[in-house]
């Protein structure tokens, strides 16, 4: 026993002096998901400290919004999380609608048809967003093919979005009081039937693909070696850092705004909330990169379930836009949050009764989740940093706003 201790101390004494190497990862780097810059302090391959520097994509969203009327802000929310722009539109519209609903003198109700369309489109957009996350995560880990498979399937979704709102990425589809009528779709018309059939055929095509992707990447032993047990974010840490959405569910917290604070018509649908669990026979630990990734894969299935329920019910008749004369919320302030694909998307709006907000803050899920990176990455390797960034699934447009 004594001898071992001696040798151990000797090893420490003989440890050669290694110099710290400071490496700039980004803002132009293949896998920082945009323009994130990480200041890495490396000891060989081991990361002593990874300090994120953000702001390279800052487009003054909040300052802009103070000079724009509420309908004009919606296209700007598209540019926040450009991967799931529908959900961003929706989050903003929900906040404004809630603030307007506080004014009892004007009563308006969002038409049933619009609610259904919103859920339908946003769940499809959630699938598209998670697909991109899956693809880029595969590419970060080094598998190029899943990336193109994900894009292949996402392309079909984009074509669907293109058909309903005329744009592929920045949709500006969901409006305050309803959805856009830019491409009219009469209730019960042949157009509507074709569109729903197209969604149906996509779902039929896509559902088996999820299992295929699980075969290709999720269960791959190299992939699981790379991601399981890496960067474990405990539930307390996730809460403290304000991680939300798939990140917090990956940490084992059973929390989904769609189920726990149902907004819109989510209480009418039957869906599960995937939450990560320890899987000892595989080596997965709650809160590691693999769990966060797996939650996204499972969430796609749940989104498919929701969309299938809408397709089974069919879209209700009626208008798609509430009868709004002007968007002019009463004096007051509101914070409303909704479940975007990356987590809790909150909009804090201060209104003084004019058509323009006095203050608008977008609380983006990625911004909070990214702040945990510094603590998560300590003592890991360079390759693990990439795995973490991919697993918390950041979109820099949303972080920098």
């Amino acid at each position: 026993m004594e001898t071992t201790q001696q040798t151990e101390s000797k090893i420490i004494e003989l440890k050669p002096f290694t110099d710290e190497m400071v490496v700039n990862m980004g803002p132009q780097h293949p896998s920082t998901h945009g323009v994130l810059r990480l200041e890495l302090r490396l000891d060989g391959e081991v990361v002593r400290e990874a300090i994120p520097h953000i702001g390279y994509l800052h487009r003054c969203f909040e300052k802009h919004s103070e000079n724009l009327s509420y309908p004009q802000i919606i296209p700007f929310t598209d540019r926040m999380d450009y991967v799931a722009a529908m959900n961003q539109n929706w989050g903003f519209c929900l906040a404004v609608e809630k603030l307007m609903a506080a004014d009892e003198s004007k009563d308006f109700a969002i038409p049933e048809r619009a609610e259904y369309l919103r859920v339908l489109i946003c769940e499809l957009n959630r699938i598209a967003s998670h697909l991109l996350s899956f693809g880029t995560y595969g590419m970060d880990i080094g598998a190029f093919t899943p990336f193109l498979y994900a894009f292949r399937d996402r392309e079909r979704l984009l074509l669907l979005f293109e058909k309903i709102c005329g744009a592929r990425l920045t949709y500006n589809y969901i409006r305050i009081g309803g959805v856009s009528e830019i491409i009219p779709m009469e209730p019960g018309s042949i157009d509507e039937q074709n569109y729903l059939d197209e969604i149906e055929s996509f779902l039929d095509y896509f559902e088996p693909k999820i299992d295929e992707y699980n075969d290709l990447l999720t269960s791959n032993s190299i992939f699981s070696e790379r991601t399981m047990g890496v960067a474990v974010m405990s539930a307390e840490m996730a809460l403290s850092y304000g991680a939300t959405g798939p990140n917090i569910r990956g940490s084992g917290v059973d929390w989904d705004l769609r189920r726990d604070e149902p907004y819109s018509i989510y209480d009418r649908f039957d869906f599960d909330v995937p939450v990560a669990k320890d899987i000892p026979e595989l080596g997965a630990v709650v809160g590691d990169c693999w769990s966060r990734y797996k939650v996204r894969m499972d969430e796609m299935k749940e989104s498919v379930r929701i969309v299938r329920q809408i397709l089974a019910e069919g879209l209700p008749d009626g208008p798609v836009m509430a009868d709004l004369k002007a968007v002019r919320p009463p004096k007051g302030e509101i914070y409303f949050r909704s479940e975007a694909p990356r987590g809790e998307l909150g909009f804090y709006i201060v209104s003084d009764g004019t058509p323009k907000p006095v203050r608008l803050k977008g609380r983006s899920p990625c911004f909070s989740a990214l702040s945990a990176l510094q603590e998560l990455s300590r003592g890991l390797m360079v390759a693990d940093i990439i795995a973490i960034i991919g697993s918390i699934d950041i979109v820099m447009g949303e972080v920098d706003r």
């Binding site: 953000i54 800052h58 403290s240 850092y241 304000g242 914070y335 201060v350």
Partner: protein, 161 residues
């Protein structure tokens, strides 16, 4: 717990540091707090078992306009366990904008406070790393203040496009 009850609890505990309870305006009711007491109140909110506010949803600075020479910081808190939320608001004059940091209570406040400092110039005392986060380090002024005038040039580049 309802916001009223939380307000009563806080008022009992902190007395004069709690300035009032706004329910008139549209939206959520707001508890007004003296800036210097914010960290203590937050600590209390986070650590009391009956309240247990374990997540800070949003932290935002507000400047209501040039007339009111005031900056505000608004805290939206949520308790996962009890499923209740509360809004805290604290206001301070523009010339002397500082208040205690809450980044040791919720780590997410770290970046949110940096952002608020960056855009409003509100100093958070006790924050370990209060730097600009979205804007360049050598940017002058605090853009989200209503009296902000954008500079003509930044490092030789014309700013207003």
């Amino acid at each position: 717990m309802k916001p009223e009850e939380i307000y009563k609890t806080l008022a009992d505990k902190f007395g004069e540091s709690i300035l009032g309870f706004d329910t008139e305006l549209a939206g959520d009711p707001i508890i007004q707090i003296v800036p210097s007491a914010i960290a203590d109140v937050c600590q209390y909110l986070a650590e009391t078992d009956t309240l247990a506010f374990d997540s800070l949803m949003c932290l935002s600075g507000v400047d209501l306009g040039a007339k009111e020479e005031e900056l505000s910081v608004v805290y939206h808190l949520y308790a996962m366990q009890h499923r209740h939320s509360v809004v805290l608001k604290t206001s301070m004059p523009k010339t002397d904008a500082h208040l205690p940091s809450v980044s040791h209570i919720w780590k997410t406040a770290d970046w949110h406070e940096r952002e608020t400092y960056d855009l409003y110039g509100i100093l958070f005392e006790g924050h370990t790393d209060l730097r600009r986060i979205l804007l360049p380090d050598d940017w002058e002024g605090y853009p989200l203040r209503k009296d902000y005038k954008e500079p003509d040039f930044y490092r030789g580049m014309r700013v207003p496009y």
